[in-house]
């Protein structure tokens, strides 16, 4: 699966409160959440971006609470994939579980500038800055996790695949 879009850059330690402030947690509808995505740091984010765009961020993205609303808001806004230097543990799980793919690459996170056109291949882990031609490699996303993303999240994946699909034999 190759994803392509414009890069939006964020720094280190973007926590779940910055992604979706607690005052908006009374909804779990992803379109409603998307409207408030980055409300305090980049108001109007959802209107600025085009579907398929990519977030490129620093260290420890998604730290803080375990709210699944955070990746839901980002996905709802239309972001297709997140590339960061590193992610907080629970955010990492939650993102894949709701069908938002994320990848870790320090080099990509450091050298891609805001606005660059970026292409990401989940299967090979290849990340390309289309403006400069620079190529980076993250750990590939294994097949079963790509299937979770394709299905739209873990619940849908399990619904489709029945009880036997999940990774382990």
């Amino acid at each position: 699966m190759r994803l392509q879009g414009k890069a939006w850059k964020f720094g280190d330690n973007v926590n779940t409160d910055l992604i979706i402030p607690a005052r908006y947690l009374n909804s779990s509808d992803k379109d409603e959440l998307a409207r408030h995505c980055f409300a305090d740091v980049r108001p109007g984010f959802v209107e600025m971006i085009s579907p398929g765009d990519i977030i490129v961020a620093g260290n420890n993205f998604g730290s803080g609470s375990s709210r699944e609303h955070a990746p839901l808001a980002i996905k709802g806004a239309g972001i297709s994939v997140l590339v960061a230097q590193s992610f907080a543990r629970i955010f990492y799980r939650n993102a894949f579980n709701i069908g938002l793919p994320i990848m870790e690459s320090k080099e990509a996170a450091q050298s891609i500038d805001e606005g660059s056109l970026v292409s990401v291949d989940l299967a090979t882990g290849e990340i390309v800055n289309m403006n400069t031609g620079q190529q980076f490699f993250a750990k590939p996303v294994p097949r079963f996790m790509r299937e979770i993303v394709d299905a739209g999240g873990l619940v849908e994946y399990v619904r489709k695949k029945g009880l036997t699909g999940l990774g382990a034999s």
Partner: protein
């Protein structure tokens, strides 16, 4: 390829010969656990997937412990939802109030976790079972709901940080002090995403209860799991409780560690975590006489029989200071019963303690000992975040049961040596 014990357990459950840090793997879950707060959400996810049986009614533990005996109508509704789900799906390991206890105390006690197991729980302190040489970690509701249906989940293999404790312990220094000291060294994110492997000659000499205390607080450094190599102490504990054959995994010489930290324990005093972080740690001698309103001995960190016995040793023939409330909550019904048989409870009551029913109690500010504005408590639990035990302007200090008992008598934070 040499592997750490965490990697070995994960590889085994992924049906792979080896794994390395960063690998994303699908694994079989030996035991899935949820409590009265987290089960309702996981059950909602389970139902959303569709009408199906659970993956295995014998490999699921549903434990009412956070808000039981129910403190209000909402918590009663949550407990009821879990109880009905347990009945409907004939969940074998559902323990009603009266046969139950705190999830992380109860599961090892019932022999439900043995070395080599992979346990996933909808509670962050699921990392406790690593003291048995198992891999265990906490997850959110979607993850657990899916595990209830499939018995499987995905994990990212964590890098391991090894901590080696060598030397000999000063008087009254316990597993609690070692882990608090370690948190002070690592910081609250010092082991983010990592496995924390506790090792060294000092760990080998600790009884199981103190090992549980240490792995319980691995999450306080951000770790995914805490783990200790099984030895004779572990195997004896497990043999009394389970008929299953343990899978003893040990770390290979030459295994790759993210970091190895050596801690010489010779000069480590009893430790106190000051508000509002478990990593905000000072040695007892550097803590002034801080007056207290309440002392709590209990929780999944220090609600074990050994902890109550230690408290009784110090409180025997003494009285809780005037103006102090000493709340003691045994970690399980069995611990409660044994503490009665051994005369521990009588000693505690004579000293002026009130004994609560086995449950989480005030640890998370649930019930049975909530703090008012401006009040100060010393607790044997694992977290002292703002408002953790009540009012946002209350304060919580963390320490061992020995320090807690001595402080209850002194009326301020003090060690047994000061009585």
């Amino acid at each position: 390829m040499p592997m750490t014990m965490t990697e070995k357990i994960l590889a085994q459950h992924a049906s792979r010969t080896d794994v390395s840090p960063g690998d994303l793997i699908g694994v079989k879950v030996d035991l899935a656990m949820a409590n009265d707060i987290t089960a309702p959400l996981a059950i909602a996810v389970f139902n959303e997937i569709g009408k199906q049986p659970v993956f295995d009614p014998n490999r699921i533990a549903l434990i009412p412990d956070h808000f039981v005996p129910n403190k209000d109508i909402e918590s009663a509704a949550q407990a009821k939802l879990m109880r009905e789900f347990a009945n409907h799906h004939q969940i074998h390991h559902y323990y009603e109030v009266g046969q139950s206890g705190i999830e992380h105390v109860l599961l090892p006690e019932k022999g439900l976790v043995i070395p080599g197991d992979l346990v996933i729980g909808a509670d962050s302190h699921t990392c406790t079972y690593g003291a048995l040489g198992a891999f265990s970690t906490g997850v959110g509701s979607t993850d657990l709901g899916v595990i209830l249906a499939t018995g499987k989940t995905w994990l990212k293999v964590p890098p391991t940080i090894k901590i080696e404790y060598e030397g000999s312990l000063l008087p009254w220094v316990r597993g609690k002090d070692l882990i608090l000291y370690t948190l002070g060294t690592l910081g609250v994110d010092g082991a983010n995403y990592c496995a924390l492997e506790f090792s060294g000659s000092v760990i080998k000499e600790l009884p199981m209860a103190q090992r549980f205390t240490m792995t319980n607080m691995a999450i306080e450094a951000g770790a995914k799991n805490g783990i200790i190599e099984p030895d004779e102490v572990t195997l004896a504990f497990v043999a009394e409780r389970s008929h299953r054959t343990p899978l003893v995994c040990t770390s290979d010489p030459g295994a790759d560690y993210e970091k190895v930290i050596k801690i010489v324990v010779d000069t480590i005093e009893p430790q106190i975590a000051l508000p509002h972080s478990p990593a905000n740690v000072r040695p007892l001698s550097k803590v002034p006489h801080i007056s207290l309103d309440q002392v709590f001995i209990g929780s999944c960190t220090n609600g074990y029989l050994e902890d109550l016995r230690e408290a009784a040793t110090i409180l025997k023939g003494r009285k809780v200071a005037k103006g102090i409330r000493l709340i003691v909550i045994p970690g399980s019904q069995l611990i409660y019963s044994e503490a009665i048989e051994q005369g521990i409870i009588k000693t505690l009551i004579d000293a002026g303690a009130v004994i609560g029913p086995p449950c989480c109690g005030p640890c998370l500010g649930g019930h049975l000992g909530i703090l008012a504005e401006g009040e100060r408590a010393l607790s044997t639990s694992n977290r002292n975040f703002v408002g953790r035990m009540g009012h946002p302007k209350s304060e919580v200090y963390l320490a061992s049961p020995a320090i807690a008992s001595a402080s209850a008598v002194a009326g301020y934070i003090a060690g047994p040596g000061e009585l």
